[in-house]
């Protein structure tokens, strides 16, 4: 996104297509971000897809702790003909971390949303396979959150499998 004006125009287009969806726009170092309401993400991405951003490069989560709402999901969109990128962001709270899944629009979001769920605990509504992807199935907690401590991960060996290694459930 070359300049602020272009971003505003794009945000305007999105706002016209999906009323009350755009919360904020940020233009920083030549990269544009449109922050939208979590519930409207599918419609917004649909509108942007119609506006030429046909490829979804990446979906990733961010933890804005201690800001609120702390969890963010970022969609990096790419326009392959106009050679342009725009970032769409939704923010949800840790208490109610639900975002509609965009897998119906882009199947590529499947693994990436699973990763965001795994790492940040954002629940994607309507995801076809909402499981952990990188961490073990029995893992408790979401390790990429900023308040998740590092270190101290117990390693289970058969010789001491009867030791109680139940992971401490963190708030």
């Amino acid at each position: 996104m070359p300049d602020q004006t272009g971003l505003e125009l794009l945000a305007q287009t999105v706002g016209d297509a999906v009323p009350d969806s755009v919360l904020r726009t940020v233009h920083f170092r030549g990269q544009g971000t449109i922050e939208v309401a979590p519930g409207a993400i599918n419609d917004v991405l649909q509108a942007l897809k119609g506006a030429g951003f046909r490829a979804l490069s990446s979906v990733h989560g961010v933890d804005y702790y201690p800001e609120e709402p702390r969890l963010g999901v970022i969609y990096e969109l790419l326009d392959m003909t106009a050679l342009d990128r725009v970032r769409v962001k939704v923010r949800v709270t840790a208490d109610e971390p639900t975002v509609p899944s965009v897998t119906p629009l882009w199947p590529t979001a499947n693994h990436q949303e699973r990763e965001v769920f795994d790492m940040f605990g954002v629940v994607f509504d309507g995801h076809p396979d909402p499981r952990r992807i990188l961490m073990p199935e029995d893992y408790q907690g979401h390790p990429q959150r900023r308040d998740f401590p590092i270190g101290g991960e117990p390693v289970l060996f058969t010789k001491d499998q009867d030791t109680d290694y139940t992971p401490k459930v963190r708030a």
Binding site: Q31, A55, S57, L83, P107, I133, L134, L156, T166
Partner: protein, 427 residues
């Protein structure tokens, strides 16, 4: 929930074991409908990996077979998840570089460049032209090296075992070049925020030139061994194709997308690090079958050699790293004479540089596709979030649509052609 009967007298199961056994894995083994009509069809679920010679690491595939034909396939990953993104958040920006390098262990220069590029975007830091060229040379050497590993292992998966050694012979030459210029064969930590660690040593350019001139001949030799081999052609032609539209939906980039006829290459489309200075072509395929994937990558080896030669030819004089003392370490000799340099050195080594608050996504064309690095800074000297959009991770999703109703041997061949690097997938 499944339970395992233990013999009487065995110690009671630990809480951990009980929890482990309570995990519901039923979603992994979804029954297939439309197959298995009793007597004539019986489906076989084969657990391929994580310890399997042809899954290129610790990829695990749950394959549903109808005889030799793959009916369904589910990749399971995470066996080498090392939490690199989390680790990078604990380190100062310049200390995070060696950590992110270890993600995709065949594309370490790309990893570090994506990260450095994102940080440079946040810093709004100008990289000297010479550093950009040196980065290009190293990245293209890295691309050749990565493709050589791909070619060798893919050929091995197809049963052509000698190719492996021929490819590794050239790879070894590249690793020697890396050692010469950076001091390390792998995970070199050569790229710095703002440039490269140090200038190339004397005589290195001549050696690289010699190699880059030899490489196209080597590629022709590989081609002579493989392209005219009827068995190989039969194994590759028309096998497991996937159309451009579907690949785009799945987010597949890189040689896989180009093999399907879409000439999308970030080096051309959105040039970075002075790629616009070089004259090179993007090999594209037509049908997107395994042969196109193979041929595209083989041709890319030649194009990369071309870029290297041009970059060496036009290598500009000048500094190898930005002169901004807030970002780059002052030269050694200044430390003895300049108080200011000493302070900068102390600040950089102890705390590191601070990066203005903001978010940046920096995509580059890795050997396997779009390698993007997202960095969020909260204004401190440590990144608040580092995320790698690894192409292998995204491309892996195309395995199931590609391999559906193919033979199990083709599944292996296609997996090799997708070229997943598990270090990058699991991060």
């Amino acid at each position: 929930m499944s339970t395992v009967d233990r013999p009487a007298g065995a110690p009671a199961k630990s809480a951990y074991r009980q929890m482990e056994e309570s995990i519901d894995l039923s979603t992994m083994e979804q029954p297939l409908t439309g197959y298995g009509d009793g007597a004539s069809h019986e489906l076989l679920t084969l657990n391929m990996g994580p310890h399997h010679p042809a899954t290129h690491g610790v990829l695990r595939l749950i394959v549903t077979l109808d005889g030799e034909i793959v009916r369904d396939l589910k990749p399971i990953i995470g066996y080498v998840h090392t939490g690199i993104e989390k680790t990078a958040e604990q380190k100062a920006y310049w200390k995070a570089i060696p950590v992110v390098e270890r993600m995709d262990y065949l594309a370490y220069f790309f990893n570090s460049y994506a990260f450095c590029g994102a940080v440079e975007t946040l810093l709004d830091c100008e990289v000297p032209k010479r550093a950009q060229y040196l980065r290009v040379i190293h990245m293209e050497l890295n691309r050749i090296m990565s493709h050589l590993v791909w070619l060798g292992t893919s050929a091995l998966d197809l049963g052509a075992m000698s190719m492996f050694w021929y490819c590794f012979r050239e790879r070894e030459a590249i690793l020697d070049l890396f050692e010469y210029s950076t001091g390390q064969r792998m995970h070199t930590r050569y790229f710095q925020v703002g440039g490269v660690m140090e200038d190339i040593p004397a005589g290195w350019a001549a050696k690289v030139k010699e190699f880059a001139e030899k490489m196209p001949t080597r590629v022709d030799q590989y081609g002579a061994l493989l392209n005219k081999n009827e068995i190989l052609l039969q194994r590759l032609r028309g096998v497991c194709p996937l159309g451009e539209a579907e690949l785009l939906e799945l987010g597949v980039t890189g040689p896989l997308l180009r093999a399907a006829g879409n000439p999308w290459d970030l080096r051309k489309a959105m040039p970075y690090s002075s790629y616009e200075d070089f004259d090179f072509q993007i090999p594209v395929g037509t049908t997107g079958d395994n042969y196109d994937r193979y041929a595209c990558r083989l041709q890319e080896l030649k194009e990369s050699s071309k870029i290297i030669l041009q970059a060496l030819e036009g290598l500009p004089e000048g500094p190898h790293i930005t002169g901004d003392r807030k970002i780059s370490l002052p030269p050694r000799h200044e430390l003895a004479t300049s108080m200011e340099a000493l302070i900068h050195h102390f600040k950089l080594v102890t705390e590191g540089f601070r990066v203005p608050e903001g978010e940046a996504y920096f995509p580059i064309e890795g050997p396997r596709g779009e390698l993007g690095c997202f960095v969020r800074s909260d204004g401190s000297s440590k990144p608040a979030r580092v995320h790698m959009r690894d192409p292998s991770f995204v491309n892996l999703q195309a395995t199931a649509p590609m391999c559906k109703d193919a033979y199990i041997a083709d599944l292996i061949a296609t997996l090799a052609m997708i070229d997943p690097v598990l270090g990058g997938i699991d991060r």
